[in-house]
C-alpha cells in the first residue's frame, strides 16, 4: 500500500480512505523520534490480540475527534528503549511507568501528525494524552491502521466526533 498522501479531493468525511496517510503520519513520528519504522500492515484482530498499552488524545477545532494508539508489549518496550536511548526494565514499576509515559507521548505526537496531515491549518487544540484500556481500540468505528514494527505491533485509530 503506498504511503504517498492522496489528492485533495473534497470529502464529506476527512477520515475516509486515508489509511495510507495514517501510515505515513505514524511512520514519520516513529522514524524521527523512535529510530524505528513500520514494517507492514497486519490484520486488526492479530494486532488487537497483542496490545498491552494504549493512549488517546482528543483534538478539537473545525473538526473534532480522537486519535487512539495501542502498542503490543514488545513494541512498547523496544520503542521506549529507542526513545530513551537506554535499557528499560520490562518487569519493574519504573520500567512500566516509562513505557506508559512513552505510549502517551507517542499518542500525542501521532495525533499531531494525523491532524496536521488530514485537516490542514486549524486552529486545532490537542488535549493532554490519557491512558486507556487497549480493549477500547477493538470496536472503534473510525479510520484504522494496524502495523507490524521491527519488534511488536502498533495500532492507530482515528475517530471523528
Amino acid at each position: 500500500m503506498p504511503d504517498q498522501p492522496q489528492s485533495d479531493q473534497p470529502r464529506s468525511d476527512p477520515l475516509t480512505n486515508r489509511t495510507p496517510d495514517l501510515a505515513a503520519a505514524a511512520r514519520r513520528v516513529l522514524e524521527t523520534m523512535c529510530f524505528s519504522t513500520l514494517v507492514g500492515p497486519v490484520e486488526a484482530a492479530t494486532a488487537q490480540s497483542t496490545l498491552a498499552l494504549a493512549a488517546a488524545v482528543h483534538y478539537s477545532g473545525p473538526s473534532s475527534g480522537t486519535v487512539m494508539i495501542g502498542l503490543s508489549g514488545a513494541a512498547a518496550h523496544a520503542l521506549t528503549e529507542n526513545f530513551l536511548g537506554g535499557y528499560v526494565d520490562e518487569d519493574d514499576a519504573e520500567g512500566l511507568r516509562q513505557q506508559r509515559e512513552f505510549t502517551a507521548e507517542l499518542a500525542n505526537m501521532i495525533c499531531g501528525a494525523v491532524v496536521g496531515t488530514f485537516f490542514g491549518p486549524g486552529p486545532y487544540t490537542l488535549a493532554a494524552p490519557e491512558e486507556v484500556e487497549p480493549e477500547r481500540l477493538a470496536d472503534l468505528d473510525g479510520l484504522r491502521g494496524d502495523f507490524a514494527l521491527d519488534e511488536g505491533m502498533l495500532s492507530v485509530v482515528a475517530v471523528a466526533a
Binding site: 514519520r28 513520528v29 524521527t32 523520534m33 521506549t80 526513545f83 530513551l84 536511548g85 516509562q98 509515559e101 512513552f102 502517551a104 507521548e105 500525542n108 505526537m109 495525533c111 499531531g112 501528525a113 496536521g116 491549518p121 486549524g122 486552529p123 486545532y124 490537542l126 493532554a128
Partner: protein
Amino acid sequence: MELNILIVDDSPVMRAFIKRVLAMSGLAVAQTLEASDGRQAIDVLKAQHVDLVLSDINMPVMNGEEFLREMMANETLRGTPVVVISTDARLDRVMQMISLGARGYVAKPFSPEGLRAELERAMGVVNA
C-alpha cells in the same frame, strides 16, 4: 561556549528524550536542568544561570504561554532565549509564541540536526 540548558516539560520521558537529542546534536552542553512546569522553571531561572530554555506549551500549573509572559515581564529573566518544543505545528501557534517572546520553535517530530539548527539560530550562533 558550553551551555546550561533548562528543559521544561511535564513528561519525564520527553525531558529524557530531549536530553538525549541534545547530546546527539553535538551542541556543547555543560549542564541540563529540568522543570516539569513553568512555575518550577521560573524558580530554576531565579536560582541558577541558564543560557537557553527549551519549553513545552501544554503543561499543568503554569503552561508555556504563561511561562513566557512571566519571563518577559521579569527584567532579569527576559534576556534568556526560549525555544518552544511542541506537537502543535500550526503557523498561528508558532507566531503566537514568537510574539510572546520565544526566540525559536521546534515542532515534534524533530531530528537532532533540526533541533541544533533551531537552537543555534535562536541563540544567534553563526557557523557553529
